[in-house]
C-alpha cells in the first residue's frame, strides 16, 4: 500500500477491544472470524464477554475463511456525512447483511459498488476487504 493511500484514509478505523480483537485480527488477514457459543451453539455478532444469547462463558472463535456470501437484510443511503471522514463517500450505502450460511448473523458494512438504484432488500452481496493502513483491513460488501 502506498503512502499516498494511507494518508487518504481518514475514516474511523475499527477499535480492537478485549471482546472483539479476534474478529478484527481475522479481518486484517482478509478472513471472517465469528464468536460461537459452545453451550447453545449460537453465533454472537457483535461478539462480547460471554454468549449474548444464553450468557454462557464457554465461547470460542471460528474461522469462516474469505468466501463470505450474504443478502441485503436492510440498508440506508446517506447523502450527508453524519461522521467525520465520510465527506468523500457521499452518497454512502450502509447495509445490514444476512450471511447466506448463517442467517442468524447480520453484519453491517458499506456496499462499495452500491447506490440508491441498484441496492434492494434481498440482493446478493459478497464480503471484500479494504486495506486501510499497512496492517489494518476493514470488511466491506460488494454486489455479487
Amino acid at each position: 500500500m502506498s503512502e499516498e493511500t494511507k494518508v487518504k484514509y481518514d475514516k474511523p478505523i475499527p477499535l480492537k477491544t478485549i471482546d472483539n480483537t479476534p474478529y478484527w485480527d481475522a479481518a486484517d488477514r482478509h478472513e471472517l472470524a465469528l464468536q460461537k457459543c459452545e453451550t447453545c451453539n449460537s453465533y454472537n455478532h457483535p461478539p462480547g464477554p460471554s454468549c449474548s444469547n444464553c450468557g454462557s462463558v464457554d465461547v470460542i472463535w471460528k474461522n469462516h475463511g474469505s468466501d463470505i456470501q450474504g443478502t441485503v437484510y436492510s440498508y440506508v443511503v446517506s447523502y450527508r456525512p453524519f461522521l467525520p471522514g465520510f465527506q468523500n463517500d457521499i452518497p454512502l450505502v450502509i447495509a445490514v447483511v444476512e450471511l447466506t450460511d448463517l442467517p442468524e448473523v447480520k453484519i453491517m458494512g458499506n456496499i462499495l459498488n452500491g447506490n440508491a438504484e441498484n441496492v434492494t432488500i434481498g440482493k446478493a452481496v459478497k464480503m471484500v476487504w479494504e486495506d486501510v493502513t499497512e496492517d489494518r483491513a476493514v470488511p466491506q460488501w460488494k454486489l455479487a
Binding site: 475499527p14 457483535p46 461522521l83 454512502l92 453491517m108
Partner: protein
C-alpha cells in the same frame, strides 16, 4: 400495576420559552419550566419534595433546581437517557410516593438542544463513539453515527415488508405540521407543509428527508406527579394515570440484529393490561416522533392501526384533528419542539384536561389519551391517561 390504577395523577405542566438560542443555561430554563408547572398546579415550591430529571449530560441537576426554587428536597434523582425517560421517571415517582418516601414530585427535561449540545451530532470523537456503546466498532467505521441511519435501517425493511411508502411518511409529517399551524409556540408555526412539497424534498438519509427528522430546540418542560387524593388540593384538573409500562427492551442489546422487533411491541400488552382498556378506547395520542417512521411503527405496535394498514390509516387523515386518532396535536417533535418527548406529554395532559375547550385546538370529547416514549428500537415505555 392494576392496584395503582388511577391512584396517581399529573397535576401540573409547564414550559420555558422555546428558541433556537436561549442565551441562558439549562438551569435557567429548568427553573422557568418548574415555576410554570408549580403555578399551573396551584402549588408552592415548598409543596414539592421530589425532583427528578433526565439528560444526556447536557443539563442541570435536580438538586440545583430545588435549591434555586428555595427548597431542600426529600429525594432527588437524575438519569441518563432520552426518549421514554419521562415515563420511567413517572413510574419511579409513583413508587416513591406509594412507599411514603415522597409526596409530590416534579420531573423536568431542560436542554439547549439547538444552541448547545445537539443530538444530531457534530464534533464527536469517532474513537469515543466506538466505545460509547456496545458494538460501536461495528457501526462507526461504516459511517453509521446517527439515529437517523440506525432507525432508517429499521424503516427501510419495515416499509418494504408492509407496503409503506414515502407518501405515508409524508402524511405523518403534514398531519403534525398542520397541528403546528394552530400552535403559535410551535417552531414551525406559520410554516405549513404540503404533501407536494414533502415529496419534492431530498433524502438526508433514506428513507428520511429533513421533514422526517425531529427538530432541535432550546427549552425546558416540567410536570408534577402526586396522588389523586392529594390532587384535590391543586387548582388544576388532575389527569389520572390509568396505567403504564415504564420501560421495556428488545431481546438483544445489539438491536440491529433483528430489525423486525422493537421494544414498543413488548410495552403494548403490559400497558393495556395495567390500564384495563383496549386500543379502541383511546381518543387522543402523543406518539414519540423523533422520526416520522417511528410513529408508523408505534401505531402498529400499540394496535392503534391494524398491522399492514398503518399506511392507509395515516393517509386517510386519521392523525389530524378530526381524524380517528388526533396525534401530536401541538405539532410533536417534528414541528413543535424537542425535549426528548416531554413536550408531547405536556400536550396530552392539556388535551385530556380539555384545556383548549372553546378554541380550534381541542380534540372534542376526548377522555382517554395514550403517550408513548421511544428511546430507540431497543428501549421504550408508555402510559395511558384519563380525565
Amino acid at each position: 400495576m392494576n392496584n395503582i390504577r388511577n391512584k396517581y395523577a399529573i397535576v401540573g405542566v409547564g414550559e420555558s420559552k422555546r428558541s433556537k438560542n436561549s442565551g441562558v443555561t439549562p438551569l435557567h430554563l429548568a427553573l422557568d419550566a418548574a415555576r410554570a408547572a408549580i403555578a399551573d398546579a396551584g402549588l408552592e415550591a415548598k409543596d414539592i419534595d421530589g425532583f427528578m430529571s433526565y439528560s444526556e449530560n447536557d443539563s442541570c441537576t435536580p438538586h440545583q433546581v430545588a435549591t434555586y426554587l428555595g427548597v431542600r428536597p426529600g429525594v432527588v434523582k437524575e438519569i441518563l437517557g432520552g426518549g421514554s425517560s419521562t415515563e420511567l421517571l413517572i413510574a419511579d415517582a409513583i413508587g416513591l410516593i406509594e412507599t411514603g418516601q415522597a409526596k409530590t414530585v416534579l420531573i423536568y427535561r431542560a436542554m439547549n438542544g439547538r444552541s448547545g449540545m445537539r443530538m444530531g451530532g457534530g464534533g464527536w470523537s469517532t474513537d469515543l463513539l466506538q466505545n460509547a456503546f456496545d458494538g460501536g466498532s461495528f457501526l462507526i467505521p461504516y459511517g453509521a453515527g446517527s439515529p437517523g441511519q440506525w432507525f432508517g435501517l429499521f424503516a427501510t425493511r419495515h416499509m418494504h415488508l408492509n407496503g409503506l411508502t414515502q407518501e405515508h411518511l409524508g402524511h405523518v409529517c403534514t398531519s403534525f405540521y398542520e397541528h403546528a399551524q394552530r400552535n403559535p409556540n410551535a417552531f414551525f408555526y406559520g410554516k405549513p407543509l404540503t404533501l407536494e412539497d414533502y415529496m419534492q424534498t431530498a433524502h438526508l438519509s433514506s428513507p428520511f428527508t429533513k421533514h422526517d427528522f425531529c427538530l432541535e430546540s432550546d427549552e425546558a418542560n416540567a410536570i408534577i406527579v402526586t396522588s389523586t387524593e392529594r390532587a384535590k388540593d391543586c387548582k388544576s384538573t388532575p389527569v389520572k394515570i390509568m396505567g403504564m409500562a415504564a420501560r421495556q427492551t428488545v431481546s438483544h442489546a445489539h438491536y440491529w440484529k433483528n430489525l423486525d422487533e422493537v421494544a414498543s411491541d413488548y410495552v403494548a400488552p403490559e400497558l393495556y393490561k395495567a390500564a384495563g382498556i383496549s386500543p379502541e378506547d383511546i381518543d387522543v395520542a402523543s406518539i414519540y416522533d423523533c422520526f416520522s417512521w417511528v410513529v408508523l411503527r408505534q401505531l402498529e405496535a400499540y394496535g392503534l392501526a391494524p398491522k399492514g394498514e398503518v399506511g392507509d390509516f395515516v393517509a386517510a387523515g386519521n392523525l389530524r384533528l378530526n381524524g380517528k386518532l388526533p396525534t401530536n396535536t401541538a405539532g410533536g417533535m417534528l414541528s413543535e419542539g424537542y425535549t426528548h418527548g416531554m413536550n408531547n406529554v405536556l400536550e396530552i395532559v392539556r388535551q385530556v384536561r380539555h384545556e383548549y375547550a372553546g378554541t380550534n385546538r381541542q380534540v372534542e370529547n376526548c377522555e382517554i389519551g395514550i403517550c408513548t416514549g421511544w428511546a430507540g428500537p431497543d428501549i421504550a415505555g408508555a402510559m395511558i391517561l384519563s380525565k
